[in-house]
């Protein structure tokens, strides 16, 4: 899993990535110099928990993917059922390109069959 995240981080514009559980436990991470492990895990857990609860109260199923765009960066959350892949990117890359790379990494992680 570390290798997959390491390769994902080599993609232009990717600042860091992490596999995290809903409660914020870090399974694997590969973060750039500007990102702090605990802070990314805590923020990711907050977003995942609030989103899941809210979608349920809206009568919807869990999200498979959530893309968050801010003025100076993006975050992509992919639900892998056993955990979430969280990727932080810069704005220089188009969202379509980012999603292709992220989905490919998520597929590979699922393929490892690792139990979280």
């Amino acid at each position: 899993m570390d290798q997959i995240l390491g390769s994902l981080n080599k993609v232009a514009g990717v600042k860091g990535s992490m596999v995290v559980t809903k409660d914020g436990s870090v399974v694997s991470e590969s973060l750039g110099p500007d990102l702090e492990r605990d802070s990314v895990a805590a923020v990711s857990s907050l977003v995942i928990q609030v989103s899941e609860r809210s979608l349920t109260s809206l009568g919807r199923k869990s999200f498979t993917q959530f893309t968050l765009t801010s003025a100076h960066g993006r975050m992509v959350f992919v639900n892998m059922d056993v955990g979430y892949l969280v990727v932080i990117t810069k704005m220089e890359m188009s969202l379509e390109q980012v999603l292709l790379e992220v989905e490919s990494a998520a597929r590979k992680i699922r393929g490892t069959g690792k139990r979280i």
Binding site: G13, D34, L35, S39, V40, V43, S44, L46, V47, V50, S51, R53, S54, L55, S57, L58, R60, K61, S62, F63, T64, Q65, F66, T67, L68, T69, S70, A71, H72, G73, R74, M75, I88, K90, M91, E92
Partner: protein, 365 residues
Amino acid sequence: MGWWSDLKTKKELGDARRSMQSARSPYSIGKFIDRCIDKNRFDLALEEAEKGNLEFPHSEALTAAYKRLIRAVHADDLKNGRNEVRKAPGPKAYYKLARLYKKMRDLDQAIELARKGVELYPNFEGNYIVLADIRYERFQRDMRATDGLQAIDLFEKAVDLNRENYRLLFQLAEIYSAIGARTQALEKAEMILEFAPDDRNAVALIEKLRKMKPSSFNSLKELLEDFERRVAAGAIDRAGALASRYTRNPDHLARKLPALGESIEGFERAVILGPKNELLAAHPGSGSDNREFAETFKRMFEAAIECSLRMDISTFEKGLFDAEDGFVYLLVIDQLKFAVMCGEKTKKNHLLGEVHRFVEHDLYL
């Protein structure tokens, strides 16, 4: 190009301008700018972009069109700048290229280059100024004390390296003045008079500052934190034209929502919250039918906004939840929060396109 081609271009752009004027919005101006870029009429595009940016400062469509325009106008400068950094690097090469990227709104590249410039040439002030400008823009947008402190720290470093940079000193004095740091503002304005004793702008600024009430806070950090608290409490009005218009007349907004619903196959619900998270409008159903939805969306927006600020990626703009049974799309435009729910029949790109058109065009008409 021959005369026939010139005539054809003139006619096409004339038609495009008329079409833009008949329904003026950021979206229609953006389309006009793109037509001008296609026809290499950068002069017309720039003129319209500058007018549009003043008229609709919060628009995503206009910012995106402006980016495309600046990229087209400065394509050669960019190539030359990159070559200079590669073949003849120096402090100014990094500075010029970082500034160009900043102008093109490619802020990640600008920051990376300016940081590299600072690392390699710490005694040149230009790269500190680029970093400070970017941080200060973020402070103006998000109103967070940490951004203000970082910007001021970087500007001060630049002043230490060059105590006679007029633009820098003036800008720093104005920043201090804007946040209420009278003593620091006076100090910077008076530094200008040391090398330009007759400068009218500096003299006027000093006069204005002397009339200002001194701050009751001892440190800049306390002052900026107080500023941030006042913004959070709503004491400082940040609403733009769109937010002001629809918070005053939410019924106008409610009347526009059915059209959005009709344009998206699989549309289920749209809820719009105001700057203080109040329910402004919703469709289908009335306000009371949608109160629970509004509460849920409010929590989702709050989490996304907090996430953006804590990750230091600035203000949350939009978020798309993709699920097996459809989409939930969240969008913030000028302090208004839009939530759109759609079912599994909806095509993602169609949803994004229609919502974009609605907020960048229909809402402005």
